[in-house]
């Protein structure tokens, strides 16, 4: 016969395990969707296609590829960390049913590499570009422009006396500025956007302009890692 105290202890342990399983299950299932892994570092995707649903991307060969959860227009994905070298990059939209890009790509410096999805007229396009250099000056920060405005072949960004240009689907060089708030003006044919970028010392900021010329253009600032 099992002593009462043991039975109680076993029952207590069973209930504790059951409760723990419930909690683990809820935490594991919380948030919905998602999947994959990600961080603030690594290769990241920026969605700049106004007529496109959320976009996701995968790095690696099928079977071992890692998937970053889909992001909506004018948002940036989590980063997928990989080593340098050739990587197969796949970009999906329409709930994963439409492949926008699927090609091996050499990543010399994966940490900070951007996969940009943008539109050029009726075409959805993808560009991959490496990170820029960190600001050299002590206490400075860097600001660059990404042009994802369909119909805008070139956009220029002015910060103080410095000016850089980004063609459609590309990123400008960084403008090195003193840390703090910098007024930024982005100009192009039919585009004039002014905003303030607050950059801490040693950081790099990306100003994304995305949308369609003469229709709708949205700006957003991301801190690069």
């Amino acid at each position: 016969m099992v002593p009462t105290v043991v039975r109680e202890c076993v029952r207590c342990f069973q209930q504790w395990i059951l409760s723990a399983v419930i909690v683990i299950c809820i935490v594991g299932c919380g948030g919905g969707g998602g999947g994959g892994e990600g961080s603030e570092r690594g290769v990241r995707l920026i969605h700049g296609g106004l007529s496109l649903p959320p976009v996701s991307f995968a790095l690696g060969e099928p079977g071992s590829a890692r998937l970053a959860p889909a992001v909506p227009f004018a948002e940036r994905s989590v980063g997928l960390a990989v080593g340098s070298g050739a990587q197969r990059i796949q970009v999906f939209t329409n709930g994963g049913t439409r492949v926008l890009f699927d090609a091996p790509t050499v990543l010399d410096a994966p940490d900070g590499t951007v996969v940009l999805v943008f539109e050029d007229g009726d075409l959805a396009r993808t560009a991959v570009f490496p990170p820029g250099p960190k600001p050299a000056g002590n206490g400075n920060s860097g600001i660059r422009l990404i042009n994802a405005v369909s119909g805008a072949p070139n956009l220029s960004m002015q910060v103080g006396d410095s000016k850089v240009t980004a063609s459609l689907g590309s990123a400008s060089p960084y403008i090195e500025v003193p840390s703090g708030v910098s007024p930024v003006t982005v100009l192009g044919q039919g585009v004039r956007v002014t905003l303030s970028v607050n950059a801490a010392a040693g950081t790099r900021q990306t100003v994304l302009l995305a949308g369609e010329i003469d229709y709708f253009v949205h700006s957003k600032v991301f801190e690069d890692r």
């Binding site: 207590c12 959320p54 227009f73 229709y215």
Partner: protein, 275 residues
Amino acid sequence: MAVRLFVTGLGVLCLLASSARAQDPILSDTNGDGVVQVLALGDSVTYGVGDGIAPNLEVEDLPDRGAARGYPSRLSRNLSLPVTNSGEPGEELTIGGVTRAPGVIQSTSADEVVFLWGYNDAFFQISPGHYREDLQRLVNIARVTGKQSVLVTLHPSCCDRGGLTGFTRQYSNEVRSLAAWNDLPLFDLEALWNQRCPNKDSCPLINRPEGLHPNTLGYDFIGYGLSATLLGLPLAVPEDAVALADAIGADPARVTTVLFGGAAVTPAPATGRNE
């Protein structure tokens, strides 16, 4: 013992939170201005053409305009919140709508934007892909300007305009896909309408033989259905209609009859902002 109680309590709390999240109403003050507001964007079916006409009246043609009312006025009444009717009779999503809507969306203080569009696109046989891309544009613009989109499928036409259904059905499929891909709330009007009206040519919700615009009962139907969606309530069986009626303070028998049929229905008088 303390650990057991803590974990058990945490589990129960998490379960409650999880179930509450699954049934959370969609309505929220996303812009933090202290008022929950809704913007209804669309064409004549949003504007309310055909409203004020009782079922079983024979209607050949309808005027393009009258007072704006339709489902937005029902939504406002059911949920006791301001709803702006931005329906434009005769407008296609893919021509006038996609051009007009960005300005409307950016200038509104609404928290939720309801999109019900496409009947005029069906007249011009606009491709479903074109329809989807333009609706996605507006969903994206709404999102980056801080609004929650709510998508609605298109009710089937009948009678003199029964030929539109081939296209409206395809548009509805696109709407469902967009709702899934964008993780947006969806009011599947087409599915609920088909359930209520298995025989389209005798459907009491639509002006016949005109065959496109809902009548007073049809707009009540859309208003109840959309109210349930925004409140996060299911509408699969008649018992759900009772729960909806309870939530909006309406007569359960009437809500049930409008949504699921049964006894003869006396339409409620239509209300509109110009009445």
